[in-house]
Subunit: 420 residues, 2 copies
């Protein structure tokens, strides 16, 4: 770290508010849907957004690489730096802030450091497919060295089945090497994001410093019954697989509170009856069930209760229920020192207006936390709404968040410079 | 009716068993799926089946017309006749007997009458779309004069949205006139079918004479909640539309027995959560719910209870549930005289091996019952299985059913001849 950082260490950096909002408007126009966006990973809109963002990184003086899995990485010229990241793609017909906001904060921080004549020792990267269209955090896990070629060979788009390899070819990046995290280069990883819940808003707060990211279990639960005619099959002899899963949903909802933590969540996001005909008793039904907590012990308890409920159901019949773990992530604790730096920045810019809190959503930061210090910063979500086009954050909160993020980055760089 | 009928009235007609089974095998090969068939209305397989059946009707000496809605009608030269009918198309990946068996019985009866040197005063018709791919009993209702051009204009294939008009054009019948029931021509309507339930089998019986066909209500029930992130939205503030419908399903299942008849049935055949993503709380959910009974008063009670449950749910929240009646059919009583003729035939050929029973399934016969005397004859379904490719009936029962059907037809023709 050079002397320029130290010289300015007592004054908060100023981000360019108008430019931040203009960037957000421009990026939100790519794949716009109502007041949100529809940008599936490697869709035409997503590819366009990546090109747009790469150009902004270049303008900010960073050297840009789009690697073999679509990670779009802007590197500064410093030998040692912080890394800021998030994602560009969206959930289906979802909000414009989930992902992009963190990238624009990184970009704004680089510009602010430069404008303040500080060394912008900050890389900024858009990780491909955080939203899981093709897999689980493919981009950031690839950068962390956790994605094999075999996993890439097998990956398919979740709605239309397009192979990841074909999508990468269409995006023009097939065959390129995949960039790998050089741990020695990085002081740590910082990710800003909308909260996607209602805690900050309901407590009248404007900034959240994330203490830990929840772990998650995704389970596919299937019931096998007997498909039959809905008019001629007496109620008494039916083996209705759809009804069996409805009952399980209700049983879970009644049983989980007794073993859950205070912030545990559980959701049945998808339900399908087969064959799905009005006049046919479902012979098979399938649901996607998910639960999350920051405490591994709570995750274990919830998992145990789920399997006990399924065993109980199978003992009484009439259908046979099975569960298959589709994916699991472990809780990730955020770095204490990085939390403190962001907390100090928040207290300086929004005194009393911030809190430490867990993240109920998964983020790329949880993968980095296994390799380098990591931290996250949240801004409020209006009405707690996310994964929906109506998702929003007030302009004042968007700007304050960028300011706190840039200031947190500055404080971390100053501290690193001092500790040399 | 001419003297030839009377002359042979004391001996049961003999159907050609080998030819019946060969016909069944040939027809089942068109659109074969495992041991069943997949023949959506106006699919290539269905059109091929229609052509195959038209050819069999011609061979049996009938004058064949395929009309402007795809009804395939074989007419005898008698001035007054019975009408036998059923359907050729199938439910998705369903059984080979549901529909076709009744048509092959009609064909076998014509041949048997002719072979016995009796006047074959029997028309045989395959009604289009009994299985409701494009609408509700479109073919038989059209023949009964109950389908307007506007209904045809609006009809769409239920899975791929193809307009009925386009499907009729592809089938080569667009623009042809639609045949209309001449009530004065017909002594009555007779339809043989597999039971599609387990009653005959469980009681060790081989023939069912249908007393009435159930009426049915098809209701589309939707819940509106708030779509949100499955990780960040606390359980306490969720408005989960999927969970709301699961709860309603269970509430129906608990409440209906108290107001149902002994043979009432109710089914949720389809369930969809929107957007259907594992990490998104469903903001909307929709289910197709159906209930049936032979008693109009019971249908009214069930309908009342359903709406009371929905009102109750809406009072307690957190989601808003609405119900829309998609279709309704009224119970149809079968003609007593025709029932008696078929019962006498059954008693002659399977003494003590038959019963009178309601039909839990809807059939084209319910539409004819509004215009001319109608009757139905059932043969057992193995394991009560239907609307599934595993649907089956023993060869002995298939043959006996054809024999009883032909003999019932003969007795009705004899009786009509005598009453002249």
């Amino acid at each position: 770290m050079n002397a320029r950082v130290s010289a300015a260490s007592s004054e908060p950096t100023e981000i360019d508010r108008e430019r931040l909002l203009a960037d957000l408007a421009a990026l939100s126009a790519i794949g716009a849907y109502k007041s949100g966006v529809h940008r599936p990973t490697f869709s035409a809109e997503d590819i366009k957004a990546r090109a747009w963002f790469a150009e902004r990184l270049r303008e900010a003086g960073l050297a840009v690489e789009i690697d073999g899995i679509g990670n779009t990485i802007g590197r500064c010229s410093s030998g040692r730096a912080l890394l800021a990241g998030s994602h560009l793609e969206s959930q289906p017909h979802a909000g414009r802030l989930d992902g992009p906001l963190g990238l624009l904060y990184g970009l704004a921080a680089v510009r602010a450091l430069r404008a303040a004549d500080l060394e912008p020792a900050l890389d900024v990267a858009a990780w491909a497919d955080e939203e899981g269209w093709f897999g689980q955090f493919l981009g950031s896990r690839s950068f962390c060295g956790e994605v094999t070629e075999a996993e890439m060979d097998a990956a398919r788009q979740r709605t239309d089945g397009t192979p990841l390899r074909a999508a990468l070819a269409a995006a023009g990046v097939a065959g390129r090497p995949r960039a790998i995290l050089p741990p020695a280069r990085y002081l740590g990883y910082a990710e800003a994001h909308i909260e996607q819940g209602d805690r900050l808003e309901s407590e009248g707060l404007r900034i959240g410093i994330v203490s830990a990211i929840v772990g998650m279990r995704n389970v596919i639960i299937a019931a096998e019954g007997v498909q039959n005619h809905a008019g001629t099959t007496r109620m008494a002899i039916r083996k209705d697989a759809g009804l069996a899963l409805c009952k399980l949903c209700i049983a879970i909802d009644q049983a989980f509170p007794a073993v859950a933590g205070s912030r545990s969540v559980w959701t049945t996001g998808r339900m399908r009856f087969e064959p799905g005909e009005p006049s046919v008793i479902p012979g098979r039904a399938e649901m996607h069930f998910q639960f999350r907590d920051t405490d591994p012990a709570v995750l274990e308890r919830l998992s145990g209760r789920l399997h006990a409920l399924i065993e109980e159901t199978n003992r009484t019949g009439p259908c046979r229920i099975t569960a298959r773990l589709r994916s699991a992530t472990e809780p990730a604790v955020m770095d204490a020192g990085m939390q403190d730096a962001f907390a100090a920045a928040a207290e300086a810019l929004a005194p009393g207006g911030w809190t430490r809190m867990p993240s109920g959503a998964g983020h790329d930061a949880q993968n980095f936390a296994r390799h380098i210090p990591a931290v996250m910063l949240f801004v409020p979500s209006i009405g707690g709404i996310s994964h929906h086009w109506a998702e929003d954050t007030s302009e004042a909160d968007i700007v304050l968040g960028a300011q706190v993020f840039a200031e947190g980055i500055r404080r971390l760089l100053v501290a690193a410079d001092r500790s040399r």
